[in-house]
């Protein structure tokens, strides 16, 4: 039998914060009261009784989070082949750079001349991202991919508003990430689903049938969420453009094609990037991310304000953009996330970014070829950064994707993305990313094969998995039926 790195060991239980503590303790170092107390002046009706936080000592807080951290799994712990999420290594130096004194202490409302450092980072990062995508102009404001999509959809709306056209439908493939239709709907568009072709990519004819003068355009992901390159993208964008529409590209999967694909040449008008995927910023157990949008020059004026521009040798904020969709963030987006991506790009340079994509694609194809004998491969095509299997071959043993995923946990691997995209029933989407080395991938493959063997020989073991974790399978139905959201 092949083992992954997962084993059982001693970890520590820890109650909820407010199940600990004693009134009067504190973990906070109280600053000096060097001015007179004045709260007596406040009208009684404005005063509250203060929130019921637990009072803890410093070591209480330290142990609480230290123990909690032991119940988590991050990239630093092990392989995290979560498809569509690009869980690559997050360099520590980027954390250090983002903690540079002059950067963490900068206030967003100082005048431009007092903020040249931060503005330089923003300006240069804009330039770098334009270069990497092939697009013309960039706004870094969107705080995540979905906000980038929304920015894009608002630009769609503003563009047609300006042109005086009333269109309200938008084409979105059935493989799209859920945020795509949600963002479009939020901006008043009615998503029209395009069924993806049998080979997992878009059928040009279908697009051509659906695209009409009531439709603002298309929102597509390339490489798509099946890890496949939309080879007909030029035809598709031509069709959309011919009908006066615009093309939105979801660039969350950019990690597959840096230095290999030029999105402007593909005919994309607007696209977002997920810096917390392709550009190595840590996902933080949920965020913050950053979802810059890149546009062709024709759409530059629609970008959110303020814009960061350079005049002579100085960086400035520009507000007077009449066509702009306005502001999306209280300040400049998730700045410290942008700083990390900037640090990453500077560390890599052009050749390493290109190599990154090549190795990401190599790793995915290698996994695809290595597991295709034991797992049903959803599409017979060369894949990009990820490959999609399903549990078709395991159903006869009454074993589902979920069971296999949970068993991988016991072996010390974060499971792949499962049950997405919806077009592949029981999908298992594996994205190794380029930072995994061959030995580790080989071990993962061997373990996965073993899990598949177990599916046949010892299914109950899979259905009971995971057994090594602090908690076994959790009752999600009960959680949703009787929500208990605070303690």
């Amino acid at each position: 039998m092949t083992h992954g790195p997962g084993i059982s060991g001693l970890i520590l239980e820890e109650p909820l914060l407010w199940e600990k503590g004693k009134q009067g303790r504190t973990a906070f170092s109280m600053p000096d009261q060097d001015v007179p107390e004045a709260t007596a002046k406040l009208p009684q009706e404005l005063l509250g009784s203060g929130p019921e936080f637990p009072d803890l000592s410093e070591v209480d807080v330290v142990r609480h989070y230290t123990r909690l951290s032991g119940w988590n799994f991050g990239i630093d712990t092990g392989m995290y082949p979560l498809g569509s999420c690009t869980m690559k290594y997050n360099p520590k130096i980027n954390e250090k750079m983002a903690a540079t004194h002059g950067i963490v202490s900068s206030h967003p409302l100082l005048s431009d001349d007092l903020s040249q450092g931060s503005l330089q980072i923003l300006f240069e990062l804009q330039t770098f991202l334009a270069q990497i995508t092939g697009m013309d102009a960039v706004s870094l404001q969107p705080a995540a991919g979905a906000q980038g999509e929304m920015a894009g959809m608002l630009i769609f709306a503003a563009y047609f508003r300006k042109k005086g056209e009333k269109r309200n439908k938008i084409l979105i493939p059935d493989t799209a990430h859920g945020t795509n239709p949600a963002s479009a709907a939020l901006c008043g568009f009615k998503p029209v689903q395009i069924k993806s072709g049998d080979d997992g990519t878009l059928d040009v004819n279908l697009v051509s049938e659906l695209m009409d003068e009531d439709t603002v355009g298309i929102m597509l992901t390339n490489p798509n969420t099946l890890g496949l390159f939309e080879e007909s993208i030029r035809e598709i964008t031509a069709i959309v453009h011919a009908k006066g529409g615009l093309v939105y590209g979801d660039g969350a999967n950019m990690n597959a094609v840096m230095g290999m694909v030029d999105f402007k040449r593909c005919g994309v008008d607007i696209m977002h990037l997920n810096l917390h995927k392709t550009f190595s910023t840590p996902h933080g157990g949920g965020g913050p991310g950053a979802g810059p949008i890149c546009v062709v020059s024709e759409l530059e004026d629609f970008l959110p304000i303020p814009r960061v521009v350079k005049h002579d040798e100085s960086y400035q904020l520009k507000y007077d953009c009449l066509d702009s969709i306005g502001r999306l963030h209280a300040f400049f987006g998730n700045f410290a996330v942008l700083v990390r991506a900037y640090s990453y790009i500077l560390s890599m340079g052009a050749q390493n970014l290109k190599k990154t994509s090549q190795l990401a694609v190599l790793n995915a194809n290698y996994v695809k070829e290595s597991l295709r004998d034991v797992l049903h491969l959803a599409y017979e095509k060369p894949c990009m950064h990820e490959c999609v299997f399903s549990d078709l071959m395991q159903r006869e043993y009454n074993i589902s994707t979920l069971d296999m995923a949970k068993r991988l946990i016991d072996h010390g691997y974060h499971p792949p993305t499962i049950y997405f995209p919806l077009v592949v029933p029981g999908a298992i989407m594996i994205e190794p990313t380029e930072t995994e080395n061959k030995e580790d991938i080989d071990q993962f493959i061997a373990v996965f094969k073993d899990v598949v063997r177990e599916a046949k020989d010892n299914g109950e073991r899979l259905r009971q998995a995971p057994t090594r974790t602090k908690r076994r399978r959790l009752d999600e139905t009960m959680a949703a039926r009787k929500p208990c959201l605070i303690g």
């Binding site: 963030h329 209280a330 560390s347 061959k438």
Partner: protein
């Protein structure tokens, strides 16, 4: 390159398995007309050391006197961050994890976020809270969208013009594509929102007020709540300074239906305004309408308490275009940071630090008034306040800048009407010595 582990030999071996002759071969199916021409035009790679120097140089091009002397808030505050907070939350098991889709290997994040939701609800006096929004501004926009969903047919909302101007801009951006009507409520002479006209507004779904508002004035939320509710609208209460509720009556206790705002004050560095933390809470009866992720308590197969992402039917993964919001990645680690910060303060600490903000702010305000400044409004304030000056204040501000002190911000940047007024902020990080310097400079 230290992040790319493949040796040439391994690349060879792997290519053999995939049936390709070269790395480029893996991309052979990409149409030529899509392909990138030439090399990406970005600088050559920097070593860790060259990078550090570069950042050091860049950092020096920002004005950052010792944080204590930036007497400016307006949505971004200088507060002390205990050394334990970044050191704990920076642990890589938290930092390098994805959204907790696999609860069995994410109980750390999940319990942490559950605790965040709980402490947030307690702070704001509300019944449920979500796992975070991008920032205070988008949280407000999402709160209004939520109110519109709850109110169904009504499509008008009213927002106080004393709400942070940037927040209002974001609201306009978010709502621009819908067929909603947004009314801005005027500011009364006392610096509070004028709610007298609510009854005349048709179809009113919700009213949004910020307290303390952009001028630093503490709104009378309770009276506001009554007026808003009698106009049959939902009361959305927002904030940019979470510390206020260490001392002030909470929006929940004052009757708000949805409360949202910015949590940067709770342990996030200023970092040119981001990342911050959109805090978001509401009443239980509206919980299925809340945007964004939420963590809920449940049990595992052995009946042991555990935590999962829940109510996911509200989200895009399931309902796609009918989701309560498009938000997916949120501000996870910021929420965890805020929880650790609230836990470090405790009930006792949050009250004392909040009071100290008030005390210090009052000290400067009183000092400046004695030195001749006039309060723009007479109402009570928390740690920010607005003043006008008899003489041109700009030269004084410039002299203070030379001493390393940023003395407030021109309200005229945001409101033409108040173009001679200045908004000051004083937190626990401002020493009396600095405040005295400002007072002296104004007096002289």
């Amino acid at each position: 390159m230290r992040y790319l582990p493949h040796t040439d030999q391994e690349i060879h071996e792997m290519l053999a398995v995939t049936g390709h002759g070269s790395l480029e071969g893996l991309f052979a199916h990409i149409p030529e007309e899509c392909s990138y021409h030439g090399d990406i035009d970005i600088p050559a790679p920097l070593s860790e050391w060259a990078l550090s120097e570069h950042f050091h140089d860049i950092g020096r091009n920002n004005y950052t006197s010792a944080a204590k002397s930036i007497l400016l808030g307006a949505g971004n505050y200088s507060h002390y961050i205990p050394a334990i907070v970044p050191s704990l939350i920076g642990r890589s098991e938290f930092l390098t994890a994805y959204t907790p889709y696999q609860p069995e290997m994410s109980q750390g994040t999940l319990q942490g976020i559950f605790e965040y939701q709980t402490l947030t609800a307690r702070l704001l006096g509300m019944e449920v809270a979500n796992a975070s929004m991008y920032d205070g501004a988008s949280a407000l926009a999402e709160a209004l969208l939520m109110a519109l969903r709850i109110a169904r047919k009504k499509n008008t909302i009213a927002i106080s013009s004393a709400i942070h101007p940037h927040y209002r801009e974001v609201v306009f951006s978010y709502l621009q594509a819908g067929s909603f009507k947004i009314i801005e409520l005027p500011v009364s002479l006392d610096g509070r929102t004028d709610l007298s006209g609510l009854d005349d507004i048709d179809d009113l779904a919700a009213v949004a007020i910020q307290s303390p508002n952009f001028f630093g004035v503490i709104e009378d939320l309770e009276t506001g709540s009554n007026l808003i509710h009698s106009a049959d609208a939902l009361f959305v209460s927002c904030f940019s300074e979470a510390f206020a509720y260490g001392l002030l009556r909470s929006p929940g206790a004052s009757g708000a239906d949805i409360v949202c705002g910015e949590g940067q004050s709770f342990g996030m560095s200023q970092s040119f305004g981001g990342p911050g933390l959109g805090m978001f809470a509401c009443r239980t009866k509206h919980q299925r309408n809340i945007p964004g992720r939420v963590v809920g308590e449940t049990v595992d197969m052995d009946g042991k308490r555990g935590y999962v992402l829940t109510l996911s039917t509200r989200e895009q993964h399931i309902r796609r275009e009918k989701a309560t919001s498009n938000i997916c990645s949120n501000q996870g680690i910021c929420a965890l940071t805020a929880a650790a910060y609230m836990a470090s303060l405790g009930a006792t600490g949050v009250r004392r630090v909040a009071a100290l903000n008030y005390d210090k702010s009052e000290y400067l305000k009183a000092g400046l008034i004695k030195a001749g400044a006039k309060p723009l409004f007479d109402s009570p304030t928390f740690n920010e306040f607005s003043l006008t000056f008899a003489n041109n204040f700009e030269p004084v501000r410039r002299r203070l800048l030379e001493k390393g002190i940023i003395a407030g911000i021109e309200l005229g940047r945001f409101y033409k009407k108040y173009k001679d007024a200045y908004l000051f902020c004083v937190t626990e990080t401002a020493s009396k010595a600095v405040l005295d310097t400002v007072i002296e400079e104004v007096s002289s």
